[in-house]
């Protein structure tokens, strides 16, 4: 194993690699942010919408969840340009990951809201709260505690899925490392390095998530 050579190669390419890391974080961050907001809407519609709305959103959600994220990315990349929406690979990739995230978050939100006992809504009604007051003051705070762990999981899935954008030419971390590999022929050490960086990112996300979970836990 040529560890020293690997370190030298990584150091020599530190700026492109840092750029790659930056892109990975940017892609993941944007997709998670937009995807979560969209997913919140999806979850609310699935729980409280009328039959027609629920059916439509369910088809949307099931379609996205049944499709591999790789296929989703390729489909968005090719289809969007054909129908006249001119997005770069970068933007198309984020779009696909946002949709992917929204379908997963939608399921998580729906599950959490439906897990809240009906008595909570009834108690809120009995003291005269309207639907939106009930949602914000009673239901969401409880749902959030259930949503958090699974959401952290989804966030790490998005970070991992961002690697797939390398296949459509987006220079995120994986592709920038691959570019170093093509020059230095140190595939093992460098793939290891890439894997390690992803590991660190996801590890940090998980640890942060667990910290927040502890902070907002309800004393019992």
């Amino acid at each position: 194993m040529e560890i020293l050579e690997a370190i030298i190669a990584v150091w020599a390419a530190r700026w492109p690699i840092l750029d790659g890391i930056g892109n990975t974080l940017l892609i993941s961050g944007v997709a998670i942010a937009w995807g979560t907001m969209l997913g919140l809407g999806v979850g609310l519609l699935l729980t409280y919408g009328n039959l027609g709305v629920r059916l439509f959103v369910r088809i949307y959600s099931d379609f996205l969840r049944g499709t591999p994220v790789f296929v989703l990315i390729l489909a968005c990349f090719y289809i969007l340009s054909v129908i006249g929406i001119d997005l770069s690979a970068f933007e198309a990739g984020i779009f696909a990951l946002t949709l992917f995230c929204s379908s997963h978050v939608g399921e998580i939100v729906r599950g959490a809201l439906q897990a809240i006992p009906r008595g909570q809504t009834e108690a809120a009604k009995s003291i005269g709260l309207t639907f939106s007051q009930t949602l914000f003051s009673v239901l969401f705070p409880q749902a959030l505690r259930q949503i958090l762990p699974t959401w952290v999981n989804t966030a790490t899935e998005i970070v991992k899925a961002s690697t797939l954008l390398s296949i459509i030419g987006v220079v995120e971390l994986l592709l920038s490392v691959q570019q170093v590999i093509s020059r230095a022929y140190l595939s093992m050490e460098l793939y290891f390095f890439a894997g390690f960086v992803y590991f660190l990112i996801n590890f940090a996300i998980e640890k942060t998530g667990r910290y927040v979970e502890r902070k907002v836990a309800i004393p019992s």
Partner: protein, 220 residues
């Protein structure tokens, strides 16, 4: 938007797509089978009295789950030859997917084992079975049936991950989709059909697994 839909272009190569789908299912089945063995070993490992084994098992799970599967695939196929381990495309992918699924299944089995009543193992010992045979004939079968729903979810996830085999040119569904895409430029039709095939396959697999679950589940 003027786009003349022409599904015939996709229809012509439908047998290729079906072959790809079949390969994908095949890859998923083999990988989850091997993954189950790995997962069981690691699950017991995480609950072992031996600290070294515990640490090793957790490290395996943590490392693999936080690493993007694409990095693992590329590592196994391109980097291992550096150590002299040269695997064919399909073997390499199966190896990767097995190790990947093993990490997720470890969590499933660990949770399943923890949920078992303590008395189960003791009952096995008192009728004269050794530790090993208790595990084999009592603990594992009971735990397995309890975790079937989780197992099914993992299998469907894994099946979707087979789409990544296309990254190393394994002739599964996504690979053929890209091929047809490049040859015919019928992007919308290709990706719609392929997406629907995955969604449909997931539905069918889920339905089959549900029947298996109800057949095998322990009556309550």
């Amino acid at each position: 938007m003027d786009y003349n839909f022409n599904f015939a272009a996709v229809w012509r190569d439908f047998d290729l797509l079906m072959a790809g789908l079949g390969l994908g299912i095949f890859l998923a089945i083999i990988s989850i089978a091997i993954g189950c063995v790995i997962g069981l070993l690691a699950a017991f490992g995480m609950l072992s009295k031996n600290r070294a084994i515990r640490v090793l098992s957790s490290a395996y799970v943590s490392a693999i789950r936080n690493t993007p599967i694409l990095v693992l695939i590329l590592f196994t196929f391109f980097a291992l030859p550096q150590l002299g381990i040269r695997l064919g495309k399909i073997e390499s992918f199966i190896a990767t997917l097995s190790i990947y699924s093993g990490a997720y299944l470890t969590e499933v089995f660990r949770a399943g084992l923890i949920a078992l009543p303590i008395g189960l193992r003791e009952a096995g010992l008192t009728i004269g079975l050794t530790e090993q045979r208790t595990k084999l004939f009592i603990t594992i079968p009971v735990m397995f049936r309890n975790v079937l729903p989780s197992l099914s979810n993992n299998f469907i996830s894994l099946f979707k991950d087979t789409s990544l085999a296309a990254a190393i040119a394994v002739p599964e569904l996504t690979f053929y989709a890209r091929k047809i895409n490049v040859e015919t430029f019928r992007v919308i039709e290709t990706w719609m059909v392929v997406s629907l095939m995955y969604v449909a396959a997931c539905y069918v697999i889920a339905a089959i697994l549900r029947r298996v679950e109800s057949r095998l589940a322990i009556p309550r």
